[in-house]
Amino acid sequence: MLEFKNVSFKYDIDNYNMLENLSFHIKKGEFVSVIGPSGCGKSTIFRLICKLLDRQSGEIIVNGKPIDGRKGYCGYMPQKDLLFPWRTVGENLKLPMQIQKILAKEQMTQKMKSTLEKVGLSGLENKKPSELSGGMRQRAAFARTLLTGSDLLLLDEPFSALDFLTRISMQEWLLEQWEREHKTVLFITHDVEEALFLSGRVLVIEDLPIKKLISFDVPCDYPRNRESLTKPEIITLREQLISMLRREIKA
């Protein structure tokens, strides 16, 4: 589904490489988390995938084809919901479709309504974003990401600004969405527990420049619930990941 082949990248202002010959592969339908301390380049990987940054060398392949010159192959959900305050919730959801200009107006409205229903916000299309709670806004932003129509979803710490209880219920909600939609999800977080609860595989960024991502399979089947996190093998993995990340911060 998504493949990095020897990708290198450097910011203009830096004199070192951020990514150096990085290669990894994510299969269709996987839920993979990328973890690492803040400032380690997690978001850089995302920005390269959605072409907000240009790589120096290497190839990024989505769905078997290089991303160059393509549009709409991935749906990006940023940390902040970034709903436009002058648009209603429904109009915000239509935005990606309006830009793609593939569907007719009635079809857009229909799709927008059915997606709102899926994410549990049915009937709220005429509300302003400011009338929604933080969790509802993130759901709306997720719905907007779904409406890009792409099978690869890039979620960049989407729940990190939410309070703890909202966050854990949003995590459960996200798993339901993923199990139903059969999308491939790449999820950035700095929260080890969040990564373990959500993903089938965790990729750890070890150090700079990023030369490889260390992959850990999460030893737990879906569907999961909160108790899955208390299984001994999960706890062992959690401690292992935490000590890895702490070592990186000290270094």
């Binding site: 920005r47 959605c50 072409k51 907000l52 549009k71 709409g72 991935c74 749906g75 990006y76 940023p78 902040k80 970034l82 436009f84 305050p85 002058w86 935005l95 990606p96 309006q98 830009i99 793609q100 302003k128 974003p129 400011s130 890009t148």
Partner: protein, 251 residues
Amino acid sequence: MNKMKNNNLPALIFTFALLIIWQFGAMKVDAAYILPTPIQILKRLWELREPLFTAHLPATMTCTGIGLLISILLGVALAIIMDISPLAEKTLYPVMIASQTIPTTALAPLFVMWFGYTIWSKVLVTVLITFFPIAVTLFDGLRSAKNDMIDLMRTFGAGKREIFFKLKLPAALPHFFSAMKMAVPMSIIGAAIGEWLGAQAGLGYFSRRMMTQLDGAGVFAPIVVLSIIAMVIVGIISYIERKMITWRGDL
């Protein structure tokens, strides 16, 4: 609505108190040719209603209207050009700022020499002092769209055109209203200054003529008319703004 009345009450009481102080102060000085009382001014306004409202007000409003229209077109065009092209910004912005240090009122007699007593010398003064706040405020408004939002639009596949119309323009709308609220009074002042310096009709011209006749109340009467008109227009703009912009500060 009720709340708004309460908000305006302190200002109204204060204004009224000032008027009373003025009234008694002017009565004590007793020199109506230089310091008329508010009541004398209102009386004179009533006596002069015929020439003021049928001849001079239309002349001033024509000049204000044409000047304001040109200023809006020029200001909006400059803001958009500077937003699109960094070169234009580097070229125009400093020149625009510098142009504001030129004492326009001192140059106005020159405009009278160029254009004679026609409306265009007055329009030029109006435009010179009005286009600037429009251009600068709107330019800031176009810049107020967050980079995150621009990035999000780009991941949806939006081009420059769509980013401009779907993001930057709506984001700049509150700034446009602020600009208009500044520009309207300034355009009226500009027109009045122009007429003061050389005209055959208009409230500024009328005020000056009354001065040569040592008619203090006659000097004030047209100024009162101008102030009230400016306040009413700004009030109308604020009303439209409240109806249209329900999201100020949410961006």
